[in-house]
Symmetry: C2
Subunit: 341 residues, 2 copies
C-alpha cells in the first residue's frame, strides 16, 4: 500500500529550498511512498528540476497561494489565510487524498489548523506534542511539549495512552513502559494533579512504571515520559540550552592554543562519532497526537537530512494507523475516564 504524505513546503526557516529536496530524497529511499508538495507552485518548481524518472508518478504539486508566517497569530492562520499551504495540507489529509501531513511551520498555527480541520479523536480533549530524545539505553518519547499548559489529571492519562500508542507504532514495541514525570522531594511528591494522574495511569492497563524524575528522561527509564506541556517544554528547552553550552565549551577548550588544537585534530573522529550519537537532526519530527490524522512537525531550522527524519516518522505513523490505534485504546479506558469526571 502506498503511503501519501502531504508536505507543507513553505514552512520553516528555509522553505522549499530544504523541504523539496528532502521530499525527493525521501521518495528515492522509500519506493512505497508518494508525496503531494503543497505551496506556491512557482516557488516549488525550481527545486523540482532534480526529480528524476525514478520518482515519476509519485509526486505532485498542490498550489496554495498563501503562507502562514512564523509570527502570524493563530487567528490569522485560522480565519484569514484560508488558502495557506498549512491549511491546504491539512485538507488533503481530511479528504483522504493524503495519509499524513508534515510541516516545519509555526507550531501554534499548525496545531490550531490541524485541530480545526481534522478534529480530535473521540475521548481526546487535548491533542499533545511528542518527540523522541536520545537516552543511555536508546531513546524515549516525552509529551506534552507545550500544547497544553494547564492540564487536568485526565489529560495526563490521555497523554500516556497517546504516547504508548506512538511508541508501539514507531518502535514496534508491544507494551511500552510509561512513566509520570514527578519530583523526588521526600515529603512532597508532586502536586495534586500529578498525584491523581498517577492513580489514573495505574488503573489504565498501560505498562505504567510509576513516577520518574528529570534525570530518568536521559537514563531511558521509561519508553514514554508523561508531563504537562509547561514542564515538558521547559525540560526540552533546558536540555537544548545545556547541550549547546557543553558543545560551545568543548569547542572553546579545543581552540585555546596550538597544542589543544592539535589534540582536537587527533580527537576529531571520536568527537564526530559522539556528535552523531546525540545529533538532534536524527530526532527531528514531533508528532501531533490525538487528531483524526497523522501530523508531524519538523523543527523550523531543519536541514534536508533532519527533514527526512520527520517525513519517515510521518510515513511510519500512517502505515501503522496510529490515529486508529489511539482511538481503539481510548475506547478501552473510556469507562475509567468517565469515572473520573
Amino acid at each position: 500500500m502506498t503511503i501519501t504524505l502531504a508536505v507543507d513546503c513553505m514552512g520553516g526557516d528555509h522553505g522549499p529550498a530544504v523541504v523539496v529536496p528532502a521530499v525527493l530524497e525521501f521518495l528515492r529511499h522509500d519506493p512505497e511512498c508518494a508525496a503531494i508538495l503543497v505551496g506556491r507552485e512557482s516557488e516549488l518548481t525550481p527545486f523540482l528540476a532534480h526529480a528524476d524518472g525514478v520518482l515519476a508518478g509519485r509526486w505532485s504539486v498542490q498550489h496554495a497561494s498563501e503562507v502562514v508566517d512564523m509570527h502570524d497569530p493563530v487567528a490569522t492562520a485560522l480565519r484569514v489565510k484560508k488558502d495557506s499551504s498549512l491549511r491546504v495540507m491539512a485538507n488533503l489529509v481530511k479528504e483522504g487524498r493524503a495519509d499524513a501531513a508534515v510541516s516545519a511551520g509555526n507550531t501554534g498555527a499548525l496545531m490550531a489548523v490541524s485541530r480545526f480541520v481534522l478534529k480530535t479523536l473521540p475521548g481526546i480533549e487535548r491533542p499533545a506534542i511528542a518527540t523522541a530524545l536520545p537516552t543511555l539505553r536508546g531513546h524515549s518519547y516525552v509529551l506534552d511539549l507545550g500544547a497544553n499548559v494547564d492540564c487536568a489529571p485526565e489529560h495526563l492519562l490521555q497523554f500516556g495512552i497517546m504516547g504508548a500508542m506512538l511508541v508501539s507504532a514507531l518502535e514496534h514495541k508491544e507494551r511500552p513502559t510509561v512513566g509520570l514525570l514527578n519530583i523526588g522531594e521526600e515529603d512532597i511528591k508532586g502536586n495534586e494533579v500529578v498525584k491523581r494522574a498517577g492513580e489514573l495511569l495505574k488503573e489504565s492497563g498501560l505498562n505504567f512504571i510509576g513516577n520518574v524524575e528529570g534525570d530518568d528522561i536521559y537514563k531511558g527509564t521509561a519508553d514514554v515520559v508523561v508531563c504537562d506541556g509547561f514542564v515538558g517544554n521547559v525540560a526540552l528547552k533546558t536540555s537544548e540550552g545545556l547541550a549547546r553550552m557543553i558543545s560551545t565549551f568543548l569547542r572553546q577548550e579545543f581552540a585555546r592554543n596550538p597544542l589543544t588544537r592539535l589534540a582536537g585534530l587527533f580527537a576529531m573522529p571520536v568527537l564526530k562519532s559522539f556528535k552523531a550519537r546525540v545529533d538532534p537532526r536524527r530526532y527531528n519530527g514531533a508528532s501531533l497526537l490525538g487528531l483524526k490524522g497523522v501530523v508531524v512537525k519538523s523543527h523550523g531550522s531543519a536541514d534536508s537530512f533532519a527533514y527526512r527524519h520527520a517525513l519517515e516518522q510521518a510515513a511510519e505513523a500512517a502505515r501503522q494507523k496510529l490515529p486508529e490505534k489511539i482511538a481503539a485504546r481510548m475506547a478501552m479506558v473510556a469507562p475509567v475516564g468517565m469515572l473520573c469526571d
Copy 2:
C-alpha cells in the same frame, strides 16, 4: 568580624569523614571564620586529629546524640529526633551562637527543621531553594528547586526578590537581572499563575527582564531564573541526566578501540579543563531562602572539595547579612503584595 558556621557533620553519604576535613580545610583558607561541628562527638573526634595549631580556638564540637536518616520522614525529624545534629545545628543559629548553618542531610527534613526552628522572614510565606548553575556567560541562580510545588503568583514574586538578594549578596551585583521561566508557544504563553506573576514582577522594582525560556538558563540571559519548585526540580534533574549521558557517551567513544584511546590520551588535558568548567562540585551548595537565618544544603554525595564550596557560600551569605537584605526588600514591596491578596 568572625563568621561562625554551625555544621551538621552527620549528614550526607559520607558523614564526618568528608565533612570534618572539609571544615578544617575551609578554616585554614578563611581565617575570619569559625565552626561549630555538630554530631556524635565520638564519631567526629577521629577526624579532628588533623586540626593543627593554626586553627586553635576556631572550632568546637557540639554533641548531638541523634541523626536524621536520608529516609526519615519529616515528622520524625521534627517530632521524634529532637537531639539530631540537624536540630542542634539549627538551634545554634537561632540562639545566635552561629551565623549560618550547613548540612548535607535530607533536604525535606532540613527545610522542615530550619523552618520550624528559625521561622520565616516577615512576608515570606514559602521558603525556597536556590542554586547556581554554569552558563555561557558565567553563572545564574535558579529557584525554587523543589520546596514548593503548587505556587501562587505572589510566591513567584517572593522567589524573585529572594533570588535577587542572594545574587546581590554572593556576587556583589547591585541590580541583578530577574527572568521568569516560561514557555514560548506563540499562542499560549504560560499558564495563568505565570502570567500573573509576570505582572507582579514588573511592578516589583526588581530588575525584571520578563519571560525567559528553558534554554535561557544556560545562555545566562538572567542572573536569577524564577519558577515553581516542580518546574525547577525537573529542569535541574533533567540537566543532571543529560550531562551524565553526554559524559558517558564521550567516555564510551574514547574507549571504543586502541586508536580512540590514543586520541583520548591526547585530548585528556583539554577534556580535563572542559570538565573543570562545568564541574558541579564548584556549584555545590543550595541556599534555603526566606528563613530568619542562613541555611545552605550541600549535595549528599559531595566530596571534601565540593563541601568547601557550600561552606564558603554560607559564610559569604552570613557576612552579607542575606536574611536582613531579603527582609528589607520584602518590606519595600509589601504594599504590592497586599494589593494582590
